[in-house]
Every structure is written in C-alpha cells, then in structure tokens.
Amino acid sequence: MSSGTKQLAGIALFALVIGCVPLFTKSGVTLNFVMMALYATLIAQAWNILGGFGGQFSFGHALFFGTGAYVQAIAQLQGGVNAWAALPMAVAGSALVGMFVGALTFRYGLKGSYFALVTLAFAEVFRILATSVPFTGGGVGLMVPLRESAANMQFASRAGYLWVVLAMVVVALLVTWWLRNGRFGAYLQAVRDNEDAARAVGVNPFRVKLAAIGLSAAFMGAAGAFYVQVFQYIDAGIAYGSVTSVEALVAAIVGGMGTLWGPVLGAAVLHLLADVTRNLFGELPGINMVIYGTVLVLIVIFMPRGVAGLGVSVRQSWNAKGRRHD
C-alpha cells in the first residue's frame, strides 16, 4: 500500500472510531469533550492549510471564523434561511473575505510578521465594525432561537453535533490529504519553502496563496457556523476576538505544521490539558491561555516539528541506530 492510500485508510478509520463514540457512551461530559476537541481540530486544520502548508502565519483567523458565524446567524434570523442551507453561505462568505484579505496582502508581497499583523488588524477592524453596525446586533450580539430538530441542525443530544463537526473534520482531513498528494499542495509547499525558486519553475505564487487562504478561510467559516448552531449565540467578542485565532495556530503548531495528523493531535493534547487544569484550578479566567502559551513555548523550543514530528524523529533515530549496528 502506498503512503497516500495508507493515509486515506487512516482517515476512514478515524471517522469510524470517533463516529462510534456516541454509540458506546451517553455521558454528556465525554461527548462534549470529543465534540469540542473535534471543533478545535477543525480550526487547527483550517489554519494548517495556510500556515502549515503555505507558510503564511495568520494571527487573525478569527476573522474568517467570525464571518462564518455571523453569516450563519444572520441568514437564519434575517433571511429566514434553513440552517443547513445557511452553512454553504457561511463557508462561501468566509472564503470570499479570505480571498479579499489575501488579494490585498499577497498582491503587495506581504509575508512573515507583516502578514501576521495585517490579519490581526483585519480581525480587529471586523470586531469593531461588528459592534457598531445594526445587523450584527451590535454589542448585544445575535441569538438564534432554539428549535431543536435535525432539520434545523439543532440536536437534543451532543451526538448530533459531534457527527456534524466530525463530517467537517473529515472533509478538512481529505483536503489536507489532497494537499500532500496533489499538484496544488506541491506548489503551495514550494512557495512556502522558496518563492523565487517556485516562480522560476512556473509557479504563480499569488494565485497559489490566494487559493490557499480561500480554502483555509472556508473551513474557518464552517467552524463558525457550527459554533452558532451549538451555542445559538454570537457576539463581536466571540466572533472576532483573538481567542479563536490563538487556539487555531497553537493547536496546529503544537501538533505539527504541514502534516495530516498534527492538528488532530495538537487539538486533542490541548483540550486534555485544558480539562486537567480546569479540574485542578477550577474556572480561573484566562488559565487556558496561560497553559496554551506555556505549551507553545516548550513545543517550539524542544519539538519544533510538533507532536506529529516526534514520531518521525523517533523513527529516524531508530533507523540511524540500526544502520550503525550493521
């Protein structure tokens, strides 16, 4: 079996195992934990498409999350659109905002910390706008009325939400698989590693980065829509605040950038840590951010390739040792 086929089998197995969790437990705490870990996986995988594969480090991915969330809420509240029909609108709306920001920044060749700062600034601008314009509910926020029914993407049990977000994560994993095994992904990584060299062999970096930010934003939009369905509420702080931006990038970096399973591992590790600290310290405000920051610093210093890179390093040193004994 080629490595590409193996990875596909891995994704199928992952979907099957996680999808079966609700069949074995009715514990709300467990289901909620798995659901939130999957949600964190989704935003980490979304960030990974642009940051991990494209090397464009966004500090403002909440911009796309918030846009998806608002589109999902407003389409239902003001447009009377069904929640399932609103989801593709949220995804498309986020992708459009992503490509708008991408067109502006990549046209002028912004990279590195400059790109990070511009994305951060855009998220802040949208946060301030969202508190001032009427259709976002201003500072009060928007409340989606509770109408529990699968037809409204509102579920009585956490299991329904778990399956919805699992489906989104599986699509994100498949897109990531395609990035690792297709031409577009090869171009994206080439642009990340050396833009001039990529241009010399026929890659149009602007188009490649634009597509990447659109794709990345689309998944953030799906996550935003999912958030609105679960919590039935959104305001400017939740939508465009830095918490989501930080969570997305920390989980991706901790797990391993530019890998298939890194964001999954990173999200799982961080959520376990967050749960453990909540049990130890109670609901101390901001404690999760302290934990995230500490873990991030330790990972960057000691495991620059993330948790997923650890397996590779161990295998390599094992092989190297084997060779030395020959």
């Binding site: 095994n181 297709g182 031409r183 090869a186 171009y187 990584q189 080439a190 990340r192 590693d193 050396n194 001039d196 060299a197 990529a198 241009r199 010399a200 062999v201 026929g202 890659v203 149009n204 970096p205 530019g258």
Partner: protein, 255 residues
C-alpha cells in the same frame, strides 16, 4: 538565419544611480550552448533576471520564441519554455530531492505520481539518483547545484539559463558536472550559462558574451574573446593589455 530563440534589444536597468545593465543587445540561437562571462559585479545575474522576468527593464525589449516577453512574470516565461537556475541555490529545504524536482515536472504533468516518476528520470540525467529520498537540506554544495539544475530541467525547457552551476565546486566535481551540461545541450535544450570557471567556458561554449560594468564589451568564440584586449583589461585592470604588449612590442594604449 532563422529568428533567434532569445533576443535582447537595448536592454537597460538602473538601481538608483547604479547602471547595472546598459543597452545590452544579444541573440541566442536555438540549439546553441553559449556563455555569459565578465568580472564580478558586471551585471550578469541582473541580465539573467531581466531575461527571465524577475526584474523589469527600464528600457529595451526581450523576445523569446517569437513573442515579446518584456517584463512578463517568470512563471509565465517558464511555461513558455525559459527556466533559470540561481547562483545562490534555492532548494525547497523541507522537501526531499524527489519532491523538489517534481515541482518542476508539475509544469507539464498534473498527476503527482507521474511528476514523482519524472523527477526520478531527471535525477538520473544529472547524477542525483542515489540521493532521491534525502531531504534537500542534507545535500552538499555540489548536490544542491545538481538539484538546482534538475529542478529546472524537469520543466522541459527550450532555453535553460544556468547561473554559475559550477561555482563552489572542487575540480573533481567540475569535471563530473561538465559532461552533464554538455549532455543537456546535446539533447536539444538551448543553454546559456553564466560561468567563472574558464576551463568550462573554453570547453563547452560555442559563443561567448563578455559583460563589464553593465555593458557588452566583446563577443565571439571563446578563443577570440579571451585574446580581446578589452576583455583582458576588464578582468585585470586598466592598462594591463598595454603593459603585456609592451613586453613584446611598443604600441599605443587602446581607446
């Protein structure tokens, strides 16, 4: 004579007050193997950048394969069949040698599997086959130069612009690399190389242009060019030619 594959007419480019390239015109014939030489800072790499679209000229035109490509983006020129390499090698360090070359192959091949297979064939041509699965960052200088060449070759170019692929190599490595370049030219690819290693220029090039302080000062066969007084002066300093000649017979200082 048929239209040359690449034709520069009156190309100039300045950076602030520095006139890096001044009014350069040259024509590269299809199927030729030629060289661009000149002392350090002569503007050779700038001229390459102007040909391939990495820089836009202030004046002049670039024609390639019958089209005016002046100032056109490098990726579009690569698609037309002109690919350059870099003097300061630019590997995709996080990727393996095979993946590096496959990026070039993808210009004509959509399928990942086919591109990776083509990468292997190209690696064979430049002698990189044993290193295919190594990360590019693990290669030696000589290996990276070969990789630079392989990645460009994988785009199936009609014109290959080689920027000092022999620089930094030891004599043994140069001796290994020269037949590789020769082989590429013999396979029908037009090659224009910037080179400081005169042994290679003398052996490989059919035609040589000499650039000094941004201007073309001589052109012709390697033998003609190296005996040209202006060329000797450009390399060894003003008045050298005269002093050299005085040893034999007295004559006026040129110019």
């Amino acid at each position: 004579m048929t239209e040359p594959l690449l034709q520069l007419t009156g190309i100039s480019r300045a950076f602030g007050g520095l006139k890096a390239v001044q009014n350069v015109s040259l024509a590269v014939q299809a199927g030729s193997l030629s060289a661009l030489i000149g002392p350090n800072g002569a503007g050779k790499t700038t001229l390459f950048a102007l040909m391939s679209g990495f820089l836009k000229p202030d004046a002049g035109t670039v024609r390639f394969a019958g089209q005016d490509i002046t100032g056109r983006e490098p990726h579009r020129n690569a698609a037309l069949g002109m690919t350059r390499t870099f003097q300061i090698v630019k590997p995709f360090a996080a990727q393996t040698v095979r993946e590096n070359i496959a990026v070039g192959a993808h210009l004509h091949v959509r399928s990942r599997v086919a591109a990776l297979a083509e990468a292997e064939a190209v690696a064979q041509r430049v002698g990189l086959a044993p290193q295919l699965d190594k990360p590019a960052s693990d290669l030696t200088v000589a290996g990276r130069k070969r990789l630079e060449l392989a990645r460009a070759l994988a785009t199936r170019p009609r014109l290959l612009l080689l920027d000092e692929v022999l620089a930094g190599l030891n004599p043994q490595e140069i001796a290994e690399m020269m037949p590789v370049v020769r082989g590429i030219a013999d396979s029908g690819v037009t090659v224009l190389m910037i080179e400081h290693v005169m042994q290679a220029v003398m052996h490989l090039a059919e035609h040589v242009w000499v650039l000094a302080q941004g201007q073309l000062i001589a052109e012709g066969s390697p033998a003609t060019v190296t005996s040209d007084e202006r060329v000797v002066e450009a390399y060894l300093g003003h008045g050298t030619a005269a002093r050299l000649r005085k040893a034999a017979a007295a004559d006026g200082v040129p110019q």
